[in-house]
Symmetry: C2
Subunit: 158 residues, 2 copies
């Protein structure tokens, strides 16, 4: 069994999701960032901040270091869209998005196949002993699907 091939498949899937998001965001103007993906639903701006906050929080969750922008959690995870007035501009969000994914991806490449099967940092050793499927790989797959879910929404603003 070649663990590298499994990990490569998961990382390829993650990176494809990031490239698709990058392509969509590059095709949207800063003005379009203020569009709702459907009437009454989240704005693109909110979803970009939300994805950036979630990816940023993967850095400590996977044991790769400290996160870069914990201040994004309040407006983009804890609160729904339009609840917080003082949020970063589209230009600033684009910068955070690139910076966070670059830092995260640098960390992901340092993990050896066996490390992907280790528990993630939000669970105890006891929890992990009960359910070894709750490992770092499961976090990556979950966040890849989360990214795809919102990619399917952001594209609607084009």
């Amino acid at each position: 069994m070649n663990g590298f091939l499994f990990v490569n498949a998961a990382l390829a899937s993650w990176n494809l999701g990031l490239r698709r998001a990058d392509a969509t965001l590059s095709a949207l103007t800063d003005e379009q960032f203020h569009r709702q993906i459907a009437p009454g639903k989240n704005r693109v701006l909110y979803l970009v901040g939300h994805l950036t906050a979630v990816h940023d929080s993967m850095i400590p969750l996977l044991g790769l270091g400290d996160r870069l922008h914990p201040e994004l959690d309040e407006p983009f995870i804890k609160q729904p869209d339009r609840a917080v007035d003082d949020i970063p501009t589209p230009g600033k969000l684009r910068q955070h998005w690139i910076e966070v994914n670059a830092a995260l991806n640098t960390g992901l490449l340092t993990l050896a196949p066996a490390e992907w099967l280790q528990r993630h940092n939000a669970m105890t050793d006891e929890d992990y002993a009960k359910d070894p499927t709750r490992n770092k790989l499961a976090v990556l797959l979950s966040r890849t699907n989360h990214l795809s879910y919102h990619n399917g929404q952001i594209i609607l603003a084009k």
Copy 2:
């Protein structure tokens, strides 16, 4: 390196996507199946037919047998929404969706970890020798993300 843990993580992620789709579709009435996910975009009906056709085609692609509903390709993959008038009713689409995923999932459970790293049936041995990451696992991860992408859209019709 435990291949089962890698495969289990991928299958858990796939099954979670299916359960989320099932929950959303159960919460939508047949009338809501005719709603567009956003103005001028695909109807729920189309996305359900599309996902069913794509999952159905995974059966032969992964070497698990013959597909059940090849007739879905024309209206739901080859053609865009509203191009074909004679499509199955919401009730019939719900049946196909359940039936196709059940057949596919029965097949998925027969694959051993090493088989997940074998080439899928749409590529030649020569292609696979050049790029061993194009294996059955990559198909599953790709289709899981495809499902998440459209899950993020179908939920907008609620």
